[in-house]
């Protein structure tokens, strides 16, 4: 009869799989232009608002978001986990970087960048007789 073996090596191998590994993602992003503003929309599922850092420096908009899972383990199958979402955009002239607004809804971060007054479309009246 075979002895019952301690499977410490197997446990250790599992522990390695379970240990925290942060993956760096470039979040999928849509950019929209409206008459009065531009919007940048980024997929950041599972990220809380206080784990998002949006910075504007040297004409570059830097976005960083961190996701940490609460679950302690027990994974049978894993396709996503701890993550750092990072993205940077150079802003064109004509946007007002002092008025950038950020909001989070359903796992999408929306940055709203108002256009400077002179960049907004203007209706020109045609006068005639």
């Amino acid at each position: 009869m075979n002895p019952i073996e301690a499977r410490d090596a197997t446990v250790a191998a599992f522990s390695r799989v379970e240990s925290r590994q942060t993956t760096i993602y470039s979040p999928r992003t849509d950019v929209l232009e409206f008459d009065d503003r531009m919007e940048i929309k980024l997929d950041v599922p599972g990220v809380a608002a206080d784990a998002i850092d949006v910075k504007f420096e040297e004409n570059t908009l830097l976005i960083r978001a961190i996701r940490e899972e609460n679950a302690s383990g027990g994974y049978l199958h894993r396709e996503f986990g701890d993550a750092q979402f990072r993205r940077a955009f150079t802003l064109p002239k004509g946007l007002d970087p002092t008025c950038i607004e950020a909001s989070l809804r359903n796992g999408i971060l929306t940055l709203s960048l108002p256009k400077a007054e002179e960049m907004k479309p203007r209706q020109i009246k045609v006068s005639g007789r």
Partner: protein, 145 residues
């Protein structure tokens, strides 16, 4: 594709919006729905339940449909386009996919289909599936002589 969106701002001339749109649609289908199963999912086992999570950012929780058929979990939903018909917004860059999706996963243990709970938080769907009684761990008492 639109990699330099700044080049199109301010928009003085925009000759081919329709063409861009077709291109975007091709790109989206290839990248989003063919390369990897969507949405990404995790499966965890707890003592009395299985916990399945899925990344569904931007999906209206109302559009999500969760079903258990035997030992298969079916998740279906719709992600709406970022620019809806009638909007005046112009799409300068599009990486996020949209459309309908369905994903099925085989559950490794028997679950109690009637007790399944699902909730959506921060764009992550969490489905808790209680194990069927016969799949739960049983405590075996050791009696001493």
């Amino acid at each position: 594709m639109n990699s330099n969106w700044f080049g199109r701002f301010p928009a003085m001339v925009d000759m081919h919006p329709a063409f861009d749109r077709i291109f975007d649609e091709l790109f989206r289908d290839v990248s989003r729905f063919s390369a990897a199963p969507y949405p990404p999912m995790n499966v965890r086992e707890e003592e009395d339940s299985l916990v399945v999570t899925a990344e569904v950012p931007g999906v209206d929780p109302e559009s999500l449909d969760v079903k258990v058929q035997g030992d298969v979990l079916v998740l279906a939903g719709t992600r709406r386009p970022v620019v809806e018909d009638g909007s005046t917004a112009r799409l300068l860059r599009q990486e996020r996919g949209f459309g309908q999706f369905t994903r099925e996963i085989n559950l490794p243990v028997k679950v109690d289909g009637g007790g399944v709970e699902a909730r959506c938080d921060l764009g992550v769907l969490t489905i808790t599936l209680p194990k069927a009684p016969e799949a739960r761990p049983r405590l075996i008492k050791v009696r001493a002589n």
